[in-house]
Symmetry: C2
Subunit: 217 residues, 2 copies
Amino acid sequence: MKQREISAAVIRRLPRYYRYLGELLQNDVVRISSKELSNRMRVTASQIRQDLNNFGGFGQQGYGYNVEYLHSEIGKILGLDVQHNMIIIGAGNLGQALANYNFEKVGFNLIGIFDTNPRLKGVSVRGIEIYMMDMLDEFVATHQVDVVTLTVPKRQAVEIGHHLEEIGIRAIWNFAPTDLNVSEDVCVKNVHLNESLMTLSYEYRAMHTQDEESGRD
Amino acid sequence: MKQREISAAVIRRLPRYYRYLGELLQNDVVRISSKELSNRMRVTASQIRQDLNNFGGFGQQGYGYNVEYLHSEIGKILGLDVQHNMIIIGAGNLGQALANYNFEKVGFNLIGIFDTNPRLKGVSVRGIEIYMMDMLDEFVATHQVDVVTLTVPKRQAVEIGHHLEEIGIRAIWNFAPTDLNVSEDVCVKNVHLNESLMTLSYEYRAMHTQDEESGRD
């Protein structure tokens, strides 16, 4: 399938479609109308039709969407039909928690974990060994590493980011609370937990302020 | 300060401004022009001016922004001037990793951790005790709980979400890979790690496809 230019907003919504379709598939649902999908996902049917029309004619008038086909096509668009090798740099609490995640089911195979803490040397998480950072360059030179998950403290993250770019890494999943400032040749996806919590705080406060204001009327 | 209606896109960018201004403050920077801030943050100066104009006249022509004042005002807008009490439900790898985070510095105090696993009963993380889930209702009735961080498996998350709404919780930071389907009276902020990884996968694939295509020319 030939892809057109797709807006970032649509791309952000695709994983959620993929998740819902995956659940339908697990429940042996063969087809679904945009109306049904809309009710489940709490978005408008017209939004769903618009979004999915970006990828050609999945839906058929009077039939709806074929769940398995749509799930598989969205998976391909997201690149989930290809296996990716991932390493984690930073085996602290968060790094180890992520190492225990089952990202394999979305196509990401964890093949190594790195840290500078000598007490972690040779320790394994889910059968995957923690290596010391001085092994990183050799490891990357001798293994296909597609994605690096970065769970190091802020003060080390920028430097490590630059080094990763130098040794040829082109995708970083960054949990350090800082911008990496690598070049545009490197895909970076930030997960800034503090900032996520701040937007929750904003919404919570905005709701409370409304309550107080309407209480005053 | 009276707040106008502010778009969701601006709100999403505020924590990043807050972070940069906090770093400037730590480095004893007193004022900054929108041009300098723009260079550091890699967004246009006009974007910065537009965003910050939502909150009134922070900037002064020829002076720029007063870092401390702007940092503090954005903090207030985000609700960070108020302390929030947080509990974590789900003391698995991720829940324990989050319990070890220092969310206190953005105003979120962890006051309890809950799980159903009897082996975790009485275990402490950073001095905070893990309670069994049958203690939750009493805990919420006797403590001010503003935010619940939900790090339970998908199959339990929806049910727990409904229960949290019933016992009066109004803000949930949800890490379970599912939508909670609580009412609109509850603020939910989702951190769907799998989906974040999928969008990274998409961008990585899109970049590679471009490379291959230009290589073919």
